[in-house]
């Protein structure tokens, strides 16, 4: 691994150069809600980028799977750079890529969106109460699936190319001419370890993904009735989940089709023409989502379908805490 060093004071010059070729998106802090979310960055707003905060409100998947997109009459999109992507979103790409870049049927929109995007993964130096990536063997810093990993310490930015795309971007912008080191500085290792320790401590009773699976499979129907009683089927948990991928095809004239996000928590999601509907009852739909995350998708793709981002907990208007449910099932 090689880490190219850029002084924080020089970084905005690089971003300005990126802006001549790419749309640039990065987390910006909302001071009222103390949350972060991706915004399109311009030369004027470069200074508002918030590096190394916790998980942005919106998952990375929205760059690849917009709420609505015409999948027949495909619009070409501008190359873009997304800065500040947490590892929980990077890990989610293992599920999304398996589904949308499946060799048998490559999704042309997802592929275009994926090819046109350069991802800068980031270290999380802060975390939310709902963050629990370390419970599922993930680290709160980039491990795979990004093009460049980005860590900041003591006024210096350490950029590590993690793909050919990332390497060529840094080369093209002469960042590879900068001073570099082959190991990451101790201060970053120590910051990363602090977050790992804190997350492990925060979630010390939470089972790992394998034990979560076992406890969900063994859980009583009363547990699902109890928690689903607070669910209003709004679908926020799925909209905000970095691995949820379901959609509906809406037909338009000239045999065009619009892909629109769909959610298994909506009534009628699985209903067939003759009327049978395995997910008709709310408690069944509610449980199904957990089974999908911890049983079905891991079996299908040998990948985590819950990456511990905690967004579903933050977004739930019924205040359903997924981890509280899992802890209760684990007792």
């Amino acid at each position: 691994m090689r880490y190219y060093i850029v002084a924080e004071t020089e970084w905005s010059q690089h971003l300005n150069r990126f802006l001549s070729e790419y749309e640039l998106y990065a987390p910006v802090k909302n001071t009222e809600t103390e949350s972060y979310d991706y915004e399109q960055i311009t030369a004027e707003t470069i200074d508002s980028i918030y590096y190394n905060g916790n998980t942005p409100t919106t998952p990375l998947k929205t760059f690849y799977l917009p709420i609505k997109e015409n999948v027949v009459n495909i619009k070409e999109n501008q190359p873009r750079i997304v800065i500040g992507v947490p590892n929980c979103d990077l890990a989610a790409l293992n599920i999304l890529d398996n589904i949308y870049l499946d060799d048998d049927y490559i999704d042309p929109c997802y592929k275009q969106n994926r090819d046109n995007t350069v991802i800068f993964g980031k270290d999380c130096y802060t975390y939310k109460k709902s963050c629990h990536c370390t419970s599922y063997s993930l680290k709160p810093y980039p491990q795979e699936n990004c093009d460049v990993s980005m860590s900041i310490t003591d006024g210096m930015i350490y950029l590590c190319p993690m793909s050919d795309k990332g390497e060529s971007l840094l080369k093209k912008h002469k960042i590879t001419d900068n001073k570099s080191v082959d190991t990451i500085p101790e201060t970053i290792i120590s910051k990363r370890q602090d977050v790992v320790n804190n997350l492990q401590n925060q979630n010390k009773n939470l089972p790992d993904e394998k034990n979560t699976r076992i406890s969900i499979e063994k859980s009583s129907e009363e547990l699902w009735d109890k928690y689903s009683d607070k669910c209003v089927s709004c679908g926020a948990c799925s909209f905000i989940c970095p691995t949820c991928h379901c959609f509906l095809l809406i037909d338009k004239e000239h045999f065009e089709k619009v892909r629109s996000v769909d959610v298994c928590q909506y009534p009628g999601f699985a209903r067939v023409a003759a009327g049978e509907d395995p997910l008709h009852y709310l408690n069944k739909r509610f449980k199904y989502r957990y089974l999908c995350k911890y049983c079905y998708k891991p079996d299908m793709f040998k990948a985590l379908a819950c990456t511990g981002c905690g967004r579903c907990i933050d977004a739930c208007i019924g205040k359903i805490d997924k981890n509280e449910l899992i802890l209760e099932s684990f007792k």
């Binding site: 095809l249 892909r259 395995p278 997910l279």
Partner: protein, 273 residues
């Protein structure tokens, strides 16, 4: 790996409409581009700007010039399909999924259990079996419908009854004065079927409740779980293993199925719903 856009249908012209029953019509379509399918695979049939729905073609897979799709009126899109006029164009995506593994049927007796509109995919299979009948020992087709009026493909039944190696048995839930065959749910037909079970393959396609009891009856008759082929019906929207609507446990029915052996899916949730 495909080269074309996976979501873009090819156009097909409606050249004929056959009324099968009050609620069921067969649409005969001529695709504008080369199109073929294997028996048991399905297509997504589109009405421009209205919607699309999955169907397993009911015609012979060996006929590559045109295909037939049998449509039961069940909702908004199928209602529109029933009102399509000859000469109009529809869209076809596919074929998708895993069909019947015909080579597994060679040198075997084939017992086919069908109910209602489940005859549609089975007719395609029967056409195909007839074409390879020199390699099949015998085909017994047991078909059930609600009433005599709901029995579809009547001319084809006559044709099939005259085909060597093919036997047809039918039942209706509720008979009228014209009915001379069995009365009762379709599984009653299995009571007096004479078949060499150890050298046989069974195929089941129909409404979920019929598939459930049909499968249990076949197991009772001694069929091993891996010799019972089920054509599953789930909400198959994209056909590509992406949209998630047809998920059945760890399978996407549209991509991993719709044809499965009972052994493959017996532990999956909501199998018969």
């Amino acid at each position: 790996m495909q080269t074309n856009n996976i979501y873009k249908p090819i156009k097909a012209q409606l050249v004929k409409v056959i009324e099968e029953s009050p609620e069921i019509k067969t649409l005969v379509l001529v695709p504008e581009e080369e199109f073929s399918f294997k028996t048991g695979e399905f297509i997504e049939l589109t009405i421009d700007g209205v919607g699309e729905a999955p169907f397993t073609p009911s015609s012979s897979p060996l006929d590559t010039k045109q295909l037939e799709v049998t449509v039961m009126k069940a909702g908004y899109v199928t209602d529109k399909m029933h009102n399509m006029q000859i000469g109009e164009y529809m869209g076809i995506r596919g074929p998708y999924g895993r069909g019947y593994p015909l080579e597994e049927f060679y040198d075997k007796e084939v017992l086919i259990l069908g109910g209602g509109c489940g005859f549609a995919p089975l007719r395609s299979l029967l056409y195909n079996l007839k074409a390879v009948s020199d390699r099949i020992r015998k085909v017994t087709f047991c078909y059930g419908s609600k009433t005599p009026a709901d029995c579809i493909y009547k001319p084809y039944i006559t044709e099939l009854r005259e085909t060597p190696k093919f036997e047809v048995r039918r039942s209706v839930d509720k008979a009228d004065d014209t009915w001379t065959e069995r009365v009762g749910v379709v599984t009653v037909l299995l009571d007096d079927v004479k078949i060499d079970v150890p050298n046989s393959i069974a195929v089941v396609c129909g409404p979920p409740i019929m598939m459930k009891f049909g499968t249990f009856k076949l197991i009772e008759m001694g069929y091993p779980e891996n010799k019972i082929y089920l054509s599953m019906e789930k909400n198959m929207s994209c056909g590509l293993g992406k949209c998630g609507h047809c998920a059945m446990g760890s399978f996407f029915v549209c991509k991993d199925g719709p044809v499965f052996t009972y052994e493959e899916i017996k532990n999956e949730p909501n199998l018969w719903i």
